[in-house]
């Protein structure tokens, strides 16, 4: 994955927050990772990439961030179920929007969501994985792109 391709996901992430909230998301400098551990404070959503491209897109976000975003989109329920649904939808939208650049052979799965459990993410060693910090309001989340 080159810089231009990475930028596609960054732009998609910024656009997602801009459409759903008056508060803009700020994206930190992406960095390469070889391993990543989720923890009990984070909700995670993963999207499998297949077709001409192989890999995964993950979004890790704290419940407080997802609850705040739920409020901004007009929801009145901030349950774990809704927070997980939002994490999945955000990851799905960011990955799906990338097809505008990569084309229809960039195939995406439905999201798989983990609620606040401690687990190591098994990254494909044959692929470069970038972690992209996303700061929104006072919250911090991470987008992992492994393609």
């Amino acid at each position: 994955m080159n810089e231009q391709e990475l930028q596609v996901f960054i732009d998609g992430t910024v656009n997602y927050f801009n459409k759903n909230s008056k508060d803009k998301a700020e994206v930190g400098s992406p960095y390469l990772v070889k391993e990543f551990k989720s923890n009990r404070t984070l909700f995670s959503a993963s999207i499998g990439i297949s077709g001409k491209f192989q890999g995964m897109v993950y979004l890790f976000a704290p419940k407080t961030m997802l609850a705040s975003l739920l409020k901004d989109i007009g929801e009145t329920e901030y349950t774990n179920e809704y927070a997980a649904d939002l994490a999945g939808e955000a990851a799905n939208t960011i990955a799906g929007n990338a097809r505008k650049y990569f084309g229809k052979d960039f195939m995406i799965s439905v999201p798989a969501v983990h609620i606040g459990d401690e687990h190591e993410i098994l990254l494909n060693e044959g692929l470069k994985t970038y972690a992209v910090p996303i700061n929104w309001k006072e919250h911090k989340s991470i987008l992992l792109i492994s393609i």
């Binding site: 649904d85 939208t93 960011i94 990569f102 084309g103």
Partner: protein
């Protein structure tokens, strides 16, 4: 006109329902995937459907095909994150009338719905 919402995300279902301001459209039902949409379509018989594409059980393109086979007059707005032109063209070829890319806001949705039913409202 009755509207059915098809999306595997409850928050997207709720968002579409909440954003609806078009006076000629009333919410009539929702489904979590294409398969469920076919069952609910038979009961509710909506004139308008918003349809996600990436869903478990049956995807939105297949559901569009099958719903149009049941009622060729139904107006379907595909609402999807899949932002490539080929996907939009495929949806339209299979019987959808419009395509709205996620993420969307209230104005985007109502503009797309208005375009979908403009000719019916003006009649």
């Amino acid at each position: 006109m009755k509207l059915m919402i098809v999306d595997d995300s409850k928050i997207v279902q709720n968002m579409i329902q909440r954003f609806l301001t078009e006076k000629d459209i009333e919410f009539a039902g929702k489904a979590n995937n294409g398969k469920e949409a076919l069952d609910i379509f038979e009961i509710v018989r909506p004139e308008i459907v918003t349809m996600d594409i990436t869903m478990p059980e049956m995807d939105g393109i297949e559901a569009v095909k099958r719903i149009v086979a049941i009622d060729e007059n139904v107006r379907i707005l595909v609402v999807s994150a899949l932002a490539d032109k080929a996907t939009a063209i495929e949806a339209l070829k299979n019987g959808a009338h419009g395509f709205l890319c996620k993420p969307f806001d209230e104005r985007d949705l109502n503009d797309a719905l208005y375009e979908l039913i403009e000719d019916l409202v003006d009649e």
